[in-house]
Structure formats: C-alpha cells, structure tokens
C-alpha cells in the first residue's frame, strides 16, 4: 500500500474527513503501519500508553480483565480509533486490544496525535463526539447491568 492509497483510506474515515490531504499525508507518513495476525495483542490492560491506533483493515476486540477471565466488551472496525484514552489522560491502558483476524492499523504516536489535535480543532471535536458516544453506550450497558443485578 503506498502513501497515497493510505491517504485515500484515511479520508474515508469521518474523524479525518475535514482535514486537508496534505496533513493526512503527514499523518500517514509519520505513522507506522502495523499488520497483526489473529490473536496478536496491540496492547495490554495496565500498560502505559504511548500511541493510538487507527484501524485500517480488519477487526480488533476490546477485552477487559474480570474475575472470571477476559470479557470482550467491544469491537473496533475499519476507521475506528483505538487507544486514544490512555494518551489523552496519561492513564494506563483501560483494556486489552487484540486482533480478531488479520488486522492492519496505523500507529499514531502520542506526539503526532497531540500535534494533530491542537492543529485541527475539527479533529478534536470528532474525537469528543466519539468519546461521548462511548460514554453513552456505556451508560446504557451500565443501566442494563444494574437492572439485571436487581432482578
């Protein structure tokens, strides 16, 4: 995959839709494209975060350590951004992320991530929107879990 093809792929992702192609090229060029085979781990819960990942192709599972073992709580698909929380708030990884089948990601280092967010407010808003969606989803899950526990 050449740089230009990657740029085309990135443009199709809502997060980057409003960013000019030259900047996407910088993003693609300075990020590392990584391919994973099934069950390979992107990062483990509890690690310190140094990068976020953009799923370019394939699927990744989000796993949380629980007393009864690892539970899958979500899946990421093409165009999703993974692992931005740990680098935004400097906290350890809150979950383990693992490749489901063959997976291709773009690894965006912490520096680059902050550079992009500060330079393109549009991107910051998109990330806020994404995070808000996640909180909403979790609220629903929490509500269901609480109801289930009461019953």
């Amino acid at each position: 995959m050449s740089l230009n093809e990657e740029v085309e792929l990135l443009r199709a992702i809502p997060l980057f839709a409003k960013i000019e192609p030259a900047k996407l090229k910088l993003l693609a060029f300075t990020s590392e494209r990584l391919t994973y085979e099934a069950d390979q781990v992107l990062f483990n819960q509890g690690d310190m975060g140094d990068a976020a990942y953009i799923v370019m192709d394939g699927e990744a599972a989000v796993l949380i350590n629980a007393p009864q073992g690892r539970i899958e709580v979500a899946r990421f698909k093409r165009g999703d951004i993974v692992g931005e929380m740990a680098i935004l708030c400097d906290v350890p990884r809150t979950a383990t992320v693992q490749a489901v089948g063959n997976l291709t990601t773009l690894r965006v280092s912490k520096d680059l991530f902050f550079h992009l967010v500060t330079e393109f407010p549009q991107m910051a808003i998109e990330i806020m929107r994404e995070l808000a969606h996640r909180v909403e989803r979790m609220n629903i899950q929490l509500r269901e879990a609480v109801i289930k526990a009461r019953n």
Partner: protein
Amino acid sequence: METNLYRFIFKYSLKEQLFLLLVTGASFPFLYYSYDLPKMIVNQAINGKNFPKDLFGMPFDQIPYLFLLCGLFLILVCVNGGFKFYINISQGRLGERMLRRLRYELYARILRFPLPQFKKVSQGELIPMITAECEPIGGFIGEAINGSVFQFGQLVTVIVFLFVQDWKLGLAATALYPFQGWIIPRLQKKVNQLNKERVRTVRKLSERIGESVSGATEIHAHNAARHKLSEFSDRLATIFDIRFDIYNRKFFVKFLNNFISQLTPFFFFMIGGYLVINGEMSSGALIGALIAYKDMSAPWKELLTYYQQKEDVRIKYEQVVEQFVPAGAMAQDIQLAEPEIIPPLNGDLVASNVGLTEDGKVAILDGVSFSFPLDEHVAIVGPAGGGKDALGMMIARLIAPTAGQLSLAGQDSSQLPEAVTGRRLAYVGPAAYAFSATLGENILLGLMHRPTKPANYEDAADRRWRKRRAESDITGNSTDDIAADWIDYAAAAVKDRAELTARLIQALHQVDLEEDVYQLGLRGTINPERRPEVANRILEARTALRDRLAEPAYKALIEHFDEAAFNQNGTVAENLLFGTPIGDVFDIERLADNAYVRAILDKIGLTEDLIGVGREIARTMVELFADLPPGHAFFAQYNFIGSDDLPEFQAVLKRAERAGIAGLMPEDRQRLLSLPFKLSLARHRLGLIDARMQVRLLEARRAFAENMPTELRRHVALFERSGYNAASTIQDNILFGKLAYGQAQAAQRVGDLIAETLRQVGLRDAVVEAGLDFQVGVAGARLSAPQRQKIGIARCLLRRPDVLIVNEATALLDSAAQVHILDNLRQEQADRGLVWVLHRASQARDFKRILVVKGGRVVQQGTFDIVNSEGSTFAELLAKE
C-alpha cells in the same frame, strides 16, 4: 617522600649530576682557548711580524701560520659544540628520568591515600599536579646543578680571561655584579610568594571545572549557569591580578638586569679605548675582550634566569609534594608486599572496641566489639547514617579504625598486606566503578593482582621490552610488564583461558547479567579470522534460522538479502552497496559525493533518474514538513532533510522548476542525489522507485562489486550468502536480511527466534563472549548503574573470596534481581564467609547472625528471632519497611 627539591635531586641523581659536572669541567679549558685564539690570530698571524715562526720545531710562514691557527679555531668550535650537544642531551635525559620518577611516586602515593582523603581532595586538583605542574620541575632538575655550574664556570672563565688581559677591564666588566647579587633575591622573594598563591588559585580553578563537569545536570536543572559563570569569572580575575603583579615584578627584575648589562660596555669603551689610545693595551686585546664580554653577558643573564626559575620550581615542587603526604597513608610494603604463600583466612573476625572518628571530631563508630567465625554469613543492618557502611568498609580493611583493633584470623587487620586483604577478602560497595575497558576486563580486574605469565616477545620486541624495563628500573618505576598475562587462574580455580571464560559466563548468570551481555554480544562483532569456528557456526545458525523463518508463522517477518533481488526493507544505499561500509568512505551520508559511486551510476545511466527521485522526495518533504516549527521531533525521526536544510532544498526545488534537473549546478544535483540513498521502499511507501528502476539498481549493484578498484575494497564488506561479514554485527550475520516493516512485534519475535536458534546450535555462550568485549566507556558510562553494580559483584565472585563483603551493593537493582542475587551469593559462598550490609532489614531473615548498628554502636546481635524482639531497634527497622 623528600619535601625539599634539592634533597630529592641529590638522593636520586647525585651520581649523574657529578658525572655531568665532570664533563662540564672538562669542557672549560677548550672554552678558554676558544676565547684566547682570536687574539692570537689578530695579534700574531694578521698583524704579526718575524716570519717564519717555529712551531713544534717546524717553520711557518705568515699565511700557513694563519691557516693553522684558523684550523685550530675551527677544531675548538667543533669540540665546544660537541660538548654542549652531549651535555644538553644528558641533561634532558636526566630531567626526563627524574620527572618520570616524581610522577610515578606521586601516582603511587595517590594509590596509597587513605580513602577518606578523597573526600578532601578532588581529581580536579590532583590531575594537574601530576601532569602540568610537574612538567617544569623535570625540565629544571636536568640542569639543576650542572646548568648553574656550567653557566657559572663559563662566566668565571670569561672573567678570568678578562682579568688576564687587563685587570682594569675585568674590574669594569664586573663592577656592578655585587649590586645585582644583592638586589635581585630581594625582588624575587615577593615574586615567589605570588607564585605560590597563583599555584593554589589555579588548582582551585581546575577543581571548579571538574565539579562543573560532574554536576552538569544540576547546573542545567536549576538554571545555575549564570552563577557558575560569575564564580568562574571571579576566579579568573583573581588569577589575572596575581599574574599581572608577577609580570610587573618579574619584568622589573629583567629590566634592571638589561639596563645594568648595557651600562657595562659604556665603561668598556671608555676605559678600554683610553688604554688602547695611550698604547697601554693592544687593539687585538680589546677586540678579544669585547668578544669575551659579549659571551659573558649571556651566561650572566642565564644565571639570573636560572635563579628565578629555580625559585619558581622549588615552590612548585614543595606545593605539589605537600599535597601527597596526607596523614594515615598506607605504607608501601603493605600495598605491594608479595608474600610467598597467602593461606586462606581461617578463624574469627574479632572487633575489640573499634572506633572511627572523622577529622578527629565526628565519631562514626564508637566502642564496637563483636566476634564471629570468618566463614559465617552475617548481615549488618541499621538506619542510614548509623555507621553500618563504615563498618562494612572497615571489615574489608578499606578504612582503618582510629581506635581499637580489628583482627582477621588472629592478625591485626591494619598490618596485613593488601596481597592478603585484596585477595582473600572481596568487597563491593553501593556504587561499583567500571573502568574504561571492555566489560570482560572489568570483571577480570578482580583476578589481576600481579603478572602470572610473562609475555612472549620476538627479537625486536624483546629488545624493546628489555630496554624499557631497564629504564623503568633506573627511575624507580614498576618493572611489571603490562602486556604479560595478569590473570590469577588459580584464584578462580580454573586451568586456562577457556575454563575462565566458562566461569565468567557462570558468574554473569549468578549476578543476573547474562541476558544483558548476550544482547550486547548480538550487537557486537567478532573477527572471523581469529575465531573461524565461531564464524562458521554463526553461518550454520544463519541456515537454521532461515529454515525457521520459512515457517508460515514467521514468513513475513524477515526479508533476506538476495544478490538477485531488490530488498524492499533495505535502503537504496544498502541495495546498491550490498554490503556493510567500513569507515566513512561509503557512509550513507557521503555516497552522493563518492566518485566511484557516481561513476557506477553514470555507467548504468541511473544518475538522472535518482536525482529525479531525489527531487520528488524533496518535494514531498517540503510539502509535509514546511509548516512544522524548526526543531520539531519529526525532523529527526522521519525526515530525510533536517529542519535547517529545508529552506535550502526549497530553493533547490525552485531552481529545478526553472532550469530542469539537467540545468542545475553540480552541488544542487549532489544535494538531490543524496536523498534517495536513505529511501527504504517498504518503510517510506513513497512509491518513487518502480520495478524497472529496481532492476537497474540491481545492475548497478553488480557493476559496483565487479569494477571496484582494489584500494576501495577494504572500505566495504560485501554480503555473501555463505560468508561471514566481519563488519556486520553478529545479529545481522545471523539474520542476513532486514526486519520487515509493519509486522507487529517483529523485532521481539525475531529476537526470540534468534535466541532459540543460538541455543540449539550451542552458540549462546560465544555471543555472550563477544558481549564481554563491549567497551563500557569512561567510568562505565555506556552501561546502566545496575549493570555496573552487577559487574562489581561478578568481579568479587570470580576469585572465590574467603569473606565476601557486600555493602548495599544491590540497593539499586529491582527487587527480583535483588532476591535472585542474594540467593546466588549465599549459595556461592555456602562454605565461605559473607558479610552483607543490608539496606532492608527484612532481607536479613536467612542470615545466621545479624548485627544491628545504630549511632555508631552495635546495639543488638544474634539470630533473626533474637534481634527481632518487641520494641527493639531491629523490630523498629522492620516495621518501617
């Protein structure tokens, strides 16, 4: 050590000085005649009458007579020159020898300083004393006696000559000497005092510089540069003032001397002229006297300079030496005595009323008494600053008690030679030092007490070594051969080098350092000519690894080097050279201006295309990076072009826009051409080098190898599928390819595979051995602090000490390593002694005896259960953890 310069000179060089004096004395008659002869030539040969003259019974006419005298004069000139030459060389050699002796003595004294002395003197002070400050002393010693006598003798010769000619002239020439002899020492005295002060101030200055180097981090972290600069400037100002004062006085002395010696000719012309005119003296005698006077002013001046220099050097010597005679220095015998046999230490370690005070005031240990068998495992615990580390050092005989006695196996430990304490005991402290040598040499230091096997020398080398040893002997230096084998194999209980290496690797395991050294080894190189069997087995490992990497799970991780294929993960430079550059002739940064590379590219017709690629790269980089602030981390990380060069490339691009690539100036073309060499197709994904260009680059690769002139061959080690590449690391030799870009955890997975393969072919130890050749840098700076500690511990282990004293040496390590090493050392010393000053009381649990040291006293001792009683100091320590 002699505190007086002249006593030092007489003690070590009296014979040589006397011999020189004799030679100098022998030279004076010739000197005298060389003054007398000109007069004879003028008066008897040129102005003479009554020829022919009889000489040695032969008649001489005027011209032959002149020639004869001139011939004699020529001979005298040669003889005088010869004397001077011989004397100068002998003096120089004598000076060098004495300088060597002095420096050696001073350095030997540093090695015998009591350790607390190093808290008071800094290296910044010691180094210039032995290097710069000694230098003029050596130069002076050579001519200390002879030089003065020579100058003095010369002067006397001239004066005698003058008086013989005419006593009035002699009187005129020397009339002012008594005055000079009276005034100059008076003036010099003040200069001496200033010189002393200058030496002290300069020493402080070097101390400050040393401090700033060591404390550079703090200076940056606290924005203290301005304060430091001001402090330095203040010291320089003081030195300036002192020096200026010295110059004022020194040159006043010079001025006075010059003035007086200029005055003398005044008397000369007046009195001499008067005598000649009145016919009381011949004009030849006046000319002779004038020449003699000219020769007289030189030695007189030199005599005065000599006097000034002597005072200067005397002060330097005294000031240097007084720094090297601290109280409590170790006797030379104790440090260097070599007992016939050094029996193992059996018996008890007994401390009776041991005390230690610093500077006679602060008590660090006070009335400490205990006794335990030397083969027992003892833990010393206590609060920080309570004296436990001083006790540890004292047991290792690194510091001497100031009161009481410590006895080792029935002998007063302070009287034992270092040959006993430094071989039967071993000590490692909280900050083990690594010397600037290889990692292996640093560990072996523990075994290098004395030469055990002489080096083998062939003819010329043997003569050179004998000569050097004789010279060392003359100057009281060490006559041990540094090139000999110094390793005490018996102490490590091994027979030879091979067994020693095995033991070394075992020690690395014991101190948890083996993995680190293995990693260093992978990144190190070996010389295949010296280790052909290892090189061959690495090649076997290459084949084995290649098979493993062919498995589906690993297939994508490595792209092997292949003569016939373009390596997508290598740079264009690697693809072109298809080898590892040696030195910087084919360095990637300089390939674009390498004439041979350019010739090859021209021949294949690639130059224009690659410059075109360079232009595209420059365009992309300008597009991507132009908006970034200069110095942004991306430039270093990703860019082909540094932020400083970016505007330059923008300009080049503009020029290329106007004139096309072909129309560019050579340096612009070269700039553009330098870019593609760094391009890696897989990593940079710029898509600039298509399959057809790749084929032509392969063609260039072949041409590069085939046409290479012989003198370039040593600058690149070409890749060969079945050959060992001496310039590449062991890891690269095993891999023989590039890690594929973009494969998750590729480096780690391949690393694991390499480790597995090496283990299978039994090569891991050979790699570790290569790691032992790693240069650790100044003070071990290329290692981490825990690595240095582990080296320090391994150094002790290797020689199986009767008692191993560990003084908080593992405090720096992570807790897993701490536990591991504690267990290993306890096991290793199972039937020998171990004294461990612990920084955590809980680790004392398994020790047979525990000493609790607090406030400089042993407050508790016994087993863990005994000392861990309710409300005890030990229980308190334990509770705090």
